[in-house]
Symmetry: C2
Subunit: 273 residues, 2 copies
């Protein structure tokens, strides 16, 4: 047993979908969330800068003496997870491996599609993990750079959303996949138009739920679950409070965010090292 | 006369459209450009963080002993220009006032539309400046948050681009404007679909050219023009080299960028103070 909080970071607010699932599955745990809203998005940026930001975000969380870190961002998971794991003593998990496990459980014909940001797709993190766990699986990946701004603007119903979905996913349509991994924490917001476009037989994988299971497994395995039985608290920190923050945040978290604490990159005692 | 360079910064690569015009008008001047590609975009972020970033970017340029600073970003001009002007001794100009002067020269009926990011539009910087210079002018503003990702992805021809343009600009269509300010350095990339949608009589204002004129005026007025008559050099610094950088950069600058030097936010001796 261990009453320290779980640390979670994301490039912005997408990781709140992961917080939501962890709160549901592990209601007694305390959580410290950091969203790097001042420097979002990570998906179009270089590996070097994503690693730097991920290191800074982890060091910020470590100030709260967190017992584990969840990298609740696909780009940071694809680019920086191994680096962070090598660096720090506490357990660290990303969102990619849980997504891979879920996809392999769902697929019947072992043809799996993956959509994500440039960084996630170019890094082929999903492809590598899928092949590692099942050599016979076939993986088809597409970067969908416009999906993040669409999700943040909550543009889901407009006619042009269907056309953008078609532009990116047309190339997957003829690959005969039966499972599609939403390889970005923003994409669940676009589930409806994606579902509408892909074949009815295609199952969508949203890794948030699977990540919460993985967090529970890690806590149990390491004997560091919280033994108290009162509702845990979640503290939200962000590097900026952008336009629409409340509205977006509530949508991703599925409940009202009461308080959010801004920590500013220019204050060297906050999170820049 | 003064042989020091002109400093120019932008949130990313949009400001290269301004560099292009300055290189054309003032070919003997040296230029130091800084693009904050690690933290782009600024448009959806808070005033506080945009001010902080603008200060850091200016301090980086000041290390090169620049003789003036051009804030080649509409968001930073709207939010941080007055603050920077109060702070520093050297002349500083943004892209908004030049855009306003150009629009007032073009309009015949004094009904002017302005499109830009959330930050620029919410700040009403164009509206305030237009009214200051001509009390009788009428201003209609719309934020177009999807235009930046469209421009960066070079999505100009697709059917959905016309639908997105229509979504944002429909409300301007019935305001009877004869002039439309492209209040974001990314938007000139989308001139074609914007022109196609708005009435033929509507003239588009791209502030880059007007900003170059203003820079020349400031240099002359202060007697700090470069008197050498050999071609000046432009040095490009960025806080990250993102995906597609070369391709995007060349498109915005209108020529090949030979060398670009990454300066990393984690190195405290580079540009973080």
């Amino acid at each position: 047993m261990n009453r320290k909080p779980i640390g979670i970071f994301d490039s912005g607010i997408g990781g709140l979908t992961v917080v939501k699932e962890i709160e549901k599955r592990l209601p007694f745990e305390d959580i410290v969330y950091f969203g790097d809203t001042a420097r979002v998005p990570y998906g179009s940026k270089s590996d070097k800068i994503v690693k730097t930001f991920s290191l800074q975000n982890s060091l910020f969380l470590l100030k709260f003496d967190v017992k584990m870190i969840v990298v609740a961002c696909n780009t940071a998971s694809a680019v920086a997870l191994d680096y962070l794991k090598r660096l720090f003593k506490i357990p660290i998990t990303g969102v990619i491996e849980p997504g891979v496990i879920s996809a392999l459980n769902k697929t019947k014909i072992k043809k799996i599609g993956v959509i994500g940001t440039y960084a996630t797709i170019n890094k082929n993190a999903y492809g590598i993990h899928l092949k590692e766990k099942d050599k016979t699986s076939k993986v088809f990946s597409v970067a969908c750079p416009l999906f993040v701004p669409l999700a943040e603007e909550n543009l889901v119903e407009d006619e042009f959303v269907d056309l953008i979905v078609k532009k990116y996913l047309a190339q997957l349509k003829y690959k005969d996949i039966d499972t599609l991994i939403l390889g970005c924490t923003h994409y669940p917001i676009l589930k409806k138009p994606i579902k509408k476009y892909v074949d009815n037989k295609v199952e969508l994988v949203d890794s948030a739920e699977e990540t919460a299971k993985e967090v529970e497994r890690i806590l149990s395995e390491n004997g560091i679950k919280n033994d108290k039985n009162t509702k845990g608290r979640t503290d939200f920190f962000v590097s900026d409070i952008p336009h629409h923050f409340k509205d977006m945040g509530n949508r991703f978290l599925g409940r009202e965010i009461e308080t959010v604490i801004p920590v500013h990159p220019d204050e060297s005692d906050s999170y820049f090292i």
